[in-house]
Amino acid sequence: MTITLEPTVHGDRVSLLRVLGPAHVWALGVGIVLVGEFTGWNFAADKGGALAALIVCWVVGLLYTSVAMIDSEVTSTVAAAGGQYAQAKHIVGPLMAFNVALFLVFAYTMLEVSDAILLGDTIVAKAGVEGLTHNSFIAATIVVLAWLNYRGVLMTLNVNFVITAIAYISIVVLFFSVSPWTQGAVLKLNELVTPDNALPYGWIGVIAAFQFGIWYYLGIEGTTQAAEEVRSPARSLPYGTMAGMITLLIAAAMTWYVCASMMPWEYLGITYYPLWDAGKLTGSPLLENLLFIATLLAALASANGCINDAARAWFSLGRDRYLPTWFSAVHPKYRTPYRSILFLLPIALAFAFIADLNQAITFSILSGVLQYTFMSINIVMFRKKWPLGSIRRGYTHPFHPLPAIVLFCLCVVTFFAIFLGFGSQLIAMVAFYFLISLWFHFYRYKFVRRGDQFTMPWPKPQGY
């Protein structure tokens, strides 16, 4: 995921290079999301059983298809770096933009925390040394990746694409290695998912499982962060994002089928590395090691992209004076938002040491769902303020307002799902956003330059 900076150096504004195509957009989206197949999605089985994890895989896939359709239209029109943050500034207002940037920062920072915990736990489990804890691996992962981001991230992101591809291929290799067309040899779905245990909590378990179903795809919407860098936003963003969604849907289906056919749902629901466990259970050392390495690579690629994105969102808040301008400094040599990277580093470390994997994932999911709720309302406001034909749109998504309604309804269901089991965490997080919004609106907003918040060459919005 990239949010390339627009560094202002000695008063010269350096514009972004339009060098990316649909394949890059695909790689940006899938790169940060793929770790969700290696851990996290399986907690849906814990909340609702193995069949619930499959149901939410497809239904939440529908939620993200709506996200991708809506995002492609708005971003191909608001072609400004910052993705949803820039959209909120132009369509809803500064306070919403401030919140959306925070959603991005916390969704990505907590995803980074989850990645680091996964990486640490995977190494500790592989080492099998008594007394070895994950702390040093977590700290090393976060600090080294922050340092890489501090030094400049272009090469690292290129490497990201390669390791993401390796991780994806490992899922495909595992799938075809277990003879998916036959049952009984390696895969035993009929004996593991039975009528008695398919939905152990009934349909309320299916609703509860929505929470972690989000983890199959969380972050795909980040493709829009590259809006200013793609050669043809109208073509690249919809194609790249939808291709990314199709890729992830296929990976999610393969992952579920293999894992649910190899592990009892109670174990599947609590393991931190379902795909690596599946590799182990095949009895093949080659597959076991491949999936071990792929788990680490997916976590590293995702964490790296998360640091990159979270720091850029925080930087944008400083640049627009929503937060102290101190954060908007660009490193004179490396051209990175180094102060934002350094500021978020101890926050990530603190949460990585105190939070469990499922708690960190829940923080990330909560910020994501708040953002999707905003997006469902945002598209309706966008069409109302600038009806079709009033401005040039790069892409117009079909069936409006159906995707927005579907997205909004699924967000409501997901909030209820989080309430089932993680209600206190939800209330604490929303209370945080509420309080920080009050602080912004009644105090911090006075430092914001009003007219500078609208930079698109559009006519005045209708109704204003």
């Binding site: 207002g93 174990y267 603190a350 309302i377 965490q425 929303v430 609106h441």
Partner: protein
């Protein structure tokens, strides 16, 4: 409409604002973790007989548990650690009120700020 000129913020003010943000993050996000309010609300439904059959595991499941290194005794706390989905209506109402209140405030306050932006942007032309 006259162009709004925001005040310049001195370094002490910037540091104070950064401290406020950090404190808000840790109070809202870290405190629930420290107080044990975050995380899954699960509890173990203990069984006296710790056998694969009593734990509801058929021979295929039992063989996989054993392959993963578990016995009925060690798997007991995993298998019997369950969610108990009882809807606590007061908490649900509080959650809904907080969420709705948050979004209503967000859109209304944003709209007021947005009008400032639009007025200044388009009245300049």
């Amino acid at each position: 409409m006259s162009r709004y000129t925001p005040p310049e913020q001195n370094k002490a003010g910037q540091i104070f604002d950064i401290v406020v943000v950090v404190v808000a993050i840790f109070v809202a996000l870290w405190l629930p973790l420290k107080m044990g309010l975050a995380g899954a609300a699960k509890s173990i439904d203990a069984l006296d007989a710790k056998t694969w059959e009593a734990l509801g595991q058929n021979p295929t499941m039992a063989s996989i548990w054993e392959k993963l290194g578990y016995t009925p005794e060690t798997a007991h706390d995993i298998i019997q650690n369950r969610f108990h989905y009882v809807i606590d209506w007061p908490t649900l109402i509080i959650m809904a009120a907080v969420l709705i209140g948050y979004f209503v405030f967000l859109f209304r306050a944003s709209d007021r700020e947005y009008r400032d932006v639009i007025n200044e942007k388009f009245d300049d032309k």
